[in-house]
Each structure stands twice: as structure tokens, then as C-alpha cells.
Amino acid sequence: MTAVTDSHARRSLLVKLVAAAVLMFGFSFALVPLYDLMCDALGIGKIRATTAPATAVTLAPHTLAIEFVTTNTEQLDWSFYPLVKSMEITTAETYMVNFYAKNNTGHTMTVQAIPSITPVQGTEYLIKTQCFCFEQQTLEPGESIKMPVVFMIDSALPEKYSTLTLSYSLFELKQETASAHTPGELTATNRGGRT
């Protein structure tokens, strides 16, 4: 090949290369819709596409028994028990139960209830919309309180779990503990799954 010094050839190459660069700049913006189109076409990477059927599926509600248990710890001189010991419930329906607590000591105390569910596999199907265990309770000497729990059991709960036991342990919060932990922190760390 001989040397091409023809300025016309050089100019046309120059134009083509500049056009290629401009085209690639446009291509970067074309990637925005292309990205979605590719994912749709190949059926990949769309989180909402894979999870949407899961939420849309309507599982048939079924019935089960739920029991309520309470425990006082550290020789806590409080009365603490559920007003209902057990009940038959249907999944996907909302229920409210009340717990009774009374401070029998001679001084003001702050307590915190820690929940747990047996069998533990049931934990992620228990949906609590309100619970006294989300916050701390401070009672004057001799004062009593009725504390509600509003809950629902997800229909996705396997039917082999015919009985769930919801238990609460009451702990006294010492003065420094009570101030060190905000209720939010405690509830956040104690709330496993979707409870």
C-alpha cells in the first residue's frame, strides 16, 4: 500500500470517527431503555416480576389454636398474666388480646416484655400491628394496667403447626439500662422476622 496523503480521505475518516464518538454518546443514553427492554425480553433481573405473584396468591385461611404464656423473671414482684389463656383463631384475621400487669412493689418501676413464639418456625407468620412489647412500661407502686396485643397469623403458615404459643417474659429495666436503651432500639433488636 502506498502512502495516502490525500486530504479528502483523511477528512472522510475524521468525519466517520467523530460520528462514531457521537453515536456512542447517544448509545449510552439508549442503554437506559435498552436495559429495561433486555430484562423484560429475557425475563431476568426484575425483582417485582418475581415477587409479585407471591403476594398476589391468595392462600385459603385455616384455623389454629393460639396460647398465651407469661413469665416473671428475677423475682420480679409483679402480677403479669394474659386475660385470655388460649383461643381458636382463623388466619388472615386480626385479633386483639389483653394482658394484665400490676406493680406490687413499693416503688416506681420500668419493665420491658420480651416475646417469643413456639414453635419457632411460626415466628415469621405472626404479624403484630400493636404490642406492649414494642415499648417499656413504667408503673407507680400498686398501679395496674391492661396492655393490648393486636395480631394476625399469615395464611402461609403451614397447617402442621396447629398450635402456636406466644410467650412473654417480663424484665425489670434498671435505672441506667432504662436510659441507655430507647424503646425503639429494644424493639428493633427483639423483633425477629415480621413480628
Binding site: 500500500m1 502506498t2 502512502a3 495516502v4 496523503t5 490525500d6 480521505a9 483523511r10 475518516l13 475524521l14 470517527l17 467523530v18 462514531a20 464518538a21 457521537v22 453515536l23 456512542m24 454518546f25 448509545f27 449510552s28 443514553f29 442503554l31 437506559v32 436495559y35 429475557l42 431476568i44 433481573g45 425483582i47
Partner: protein
Amino acid sequence: MANGATAAAVPQSVPKRMIAFIVRWTTATNHKDIGTLYLCTALLNLFLGGTLALCIRAELFIPGLQFVEPNFFNTLTTMHGLIMLFGFIMPVAVGFANWLIPMMIGAPDMALPRLNNMSFWLLPTATIMLVSTLFMDGGAPNFGWTMYAPLSTTYGPPSTDYMIFAVHMLGISSIMGSINIITTIATMRAPGMTWMKLPVFVWTWLVTAFLLIGIMPVLAGAVTMMLFDRNFGTAFFDAAGGGDPLLFQHIFWFFGHPEVYVLALPAFGIISQIIPTFSRKPLFGYRTMVMATILIGFLSYIVWAHHMFTSGMPYGAQLYFMLATMLIAVPTGMKVFNWITTMFRGSISFETPMLFAIAFVFMFTFAGCTGVMLAVAPADFQYHDSYFVVAHFHYVLVNGLTFAFLAGAYYWYPKFWGRMYNERLGKIHFWLSTISVNVLFFPQHFLGLAGMPRRIPDYALQFVDFNFISSIGAFVFGFSQLIFVYNMISSRHRGAPASDQVWEGAEGLEWTLSSPPPHHSFQTPPRVD
């Protein structure tokens, strides 16, 4: 340098000479002048980026926070990355291209000299703009050189907009440089210089230039979207507005992965010139070398998402990107094979350029192997964003490419300036660098495997020993580069005069010119048989 029109003027008063000096270099259009400007700028940026790296290693010498705030540490890693990539490795490659391509293809100069001048002067302007963000309120960009959204959009400091503008300018500079190089190679070859007779360095730069034209506009697009998200209320990368932060990673790595080969291919080219010279044999497998270069260029476009294995990609996509990435090891392996086979049964002599070239082959191959490890998607979940990744790409970029460019600097120094460098100092520089760079980066593999994350100013106690060793290596490596600078500067006038061929086994058009070569390399085109 003495050939410049204005430099020949009779010495006048100091201010007048200074003005003449500034005018001479700011208006330079000669390919050698531009090449020199690129190389000097790259060297300055190497030390700038290196200083930031030493700040990082000083902070990591021992656990705890000693010298810098965590946020400033993040700006250190970000600016170190940006300056080294855009300010050092890319310009040093363009500098060699400017110097060598016209001489290698038998041309008098580059095809578009004025474009060349503009593409150079955008570089220091953009670099100064980038570095100025370090002194701004709110600090410099602190989200890493990868600029992931939303760290760079919603949470980026105000100086991010300066960085975006600097990246735009650097991109325009690279695109103009690439257009110039392609045009030069396509239209200015000497009679008889057919495509398959081009030196491998020219071939690698041809592919690199096409890569740059393909990817720099995409980076420009990514930072433009970032600019729009930051200032004009768009939501390209904001899920709340219907965008997708992962889209940024896809667009960025569509640029980012070919960019790796933009940096690597010119280094491959330099090594392919040096090894035959000192083995006194022609390059083994020229044709496969060219094919491998083109193949690497092509493959580099279709593997980008291996940087994103942990972003929640579907398995099919992970499998594809894993296999495609491993495929790149094939043409790269061909190159390594050819270099080794070129040396095989050659009469090798170990001058400084050859030492650096051999060290490159060793350490770059090692870096390639850790790269294949990282390509394995299930294993990558452990390595991702750990010091193992840091060790891997520093073996590529420092132990590999930087060594190749140092080899090139020693190899062509006598040709460029007509004086030999000091061989003894060169060897001292080589051995100090090679040992210290391994002390610096090798322990980082272990740190990464043990779980130390990257971009972190403080670390757990089990990482103390390896960090300590690594930092010692960093300071020795950093300061031993001063030997190189001293050698380059002092040999400029004191070195022994170099012959035209310089090296006994050197072949190619550039060695037929005088040392230093005339201002306009080939006034009459040579005939290549």
C-alpha cells in the same frame, strides 16, 4: 528540543526567554513535543497520585485513626484512583504513542497536529480542576473512582460537579487523541508499510484508539446522567423516580472494563517491542499477536458485569459473564506464550528495559491468574470489595503496566534524547522497585482473603502485620522512583552519546533515524520492503 523554531532564538533577558518558553510549549504541534508534554505530565501525576497513595498507606500503617478523618480517607482513595487512571496511565500511553507512531510507520508527524495540541492541553486543565476539589468546602469526591450512584448523586459533595466537568474534558481529550492516532495510522504509513508489517505497538494502539472512541462517550453519558440527577431533577439512577441505581453500574462498567484494556494494550505493545530486541530474535507469532490484540479488544466489550456479580444478577447472566471473562484469558495467554517463546533460545542480555519487561511478564501473568480467580462468580462473592481485589488490580496496573511503561522509558530514552541513561542506576531502580512493589502488594492478597474490606481507614487487629509490611513496601517503592527521575534528568546532558540503532538487536523504522531524531521524523517517506 533544540530544534524548535523559537528555542533557537538568541538568549535574551530572563522574562523574554520565559515567555518564549511558554509560547513554545503551549503552541507546540510537533508530535515529539506533544509526546514529551504528555510524558512529563504523566510523571508529575504519578508522583501526585503516589503521594495520595502514601497518605493512604501511612494511615493504614497501624490500626486506628492516625492522620486523616475517615471522610478524607475516602477522598484520598477516590482522587488516587482518578489521578492514576486518567492523569498517569492513560497520558503516559498517549505520550509514547505520539513519540513513536509517526517514527514507526515512517511519517513526518501526526495527521492532525493542531488537534493534538488541544487534546494535550485539555489534560492538565482537567487535572487541575480535579485536584482543586481537594481544597473545596465539603471536600473532594469521596465515593471511589467508580462514582457509584447514589453515593455520587444523592450523597455526593458539591465538588462532584467539578469532577464531572473534569471527566468530560478528559474524555474529549482522549477521543481527540484517538481520532488523531487512527487517522495517522490509516493515512500516513510509508510506502510498503502494509497493515501486517506494522510494529505490534502500533497495532495495540490502533485497537486501543478504537476502544477509546467506543467507551469514552459512554462514560461521558454516565456522568452526564449523574449531572442531570444532581442538578436538574431527573431520576436516571433514583429508584424513587422510576430510575435504577444498578443502571449506573451497568453503564459505568460498560466503559470501565474496556478501559482496563485501553490501559493494558499499549503496555503489551511496548513489551512486544522490547523482548525481541534483547532476545535478538524476531517476535514469535506476530500474526497471533495481532489477532489476540483485536480479540481482546472485542471481548473487553462483552464482559463488563463481572464487576457486579454481587448486585443480585440472575444465575444465567452470572454464568455468561463468568465464562466470557475467562475467555479473555485465552488471547492474553497467547500473548504471554509468544513473549516467552520469543525469549526461548534467544541470546538474551539483561539491560534495564529487558529486566523491567521480564518482570512485567512474570507479575502481569500472576495478576491475570488472580483475575481468573475473581472471574469465578461463586468465589467472587468472597473476594468482592476486599483487599484481594485491590491486590489484583494493583498487580495489573503497577507491577504490570507501570513496569511496562518504565521499561519503555528506559528503552527509548536514548533514541528520544541521544544520550544513554545510567545503566547502574537503572538496575538499582529496577531491583529496589521489583522487591518493594511485591512487599507492597503481595500481602494484600492475604488481607483480602482474611476479610479486610477495601476503602477503609481502620481495621481489625488480625490485619496488623500484613498492613505493616505492605506500608513499608509502599514507602520504599514510592521513594525508589526518585532514582528514576534523577536518572532521566541527569543523563539528559551527562549520559554517553547514543548511536542511531542504540540497541544491538533493535529493529524497526525508529532506529534508522538519528538519536535524537530530527524534528520532522521522516521528511521523505522511507521505503519498506
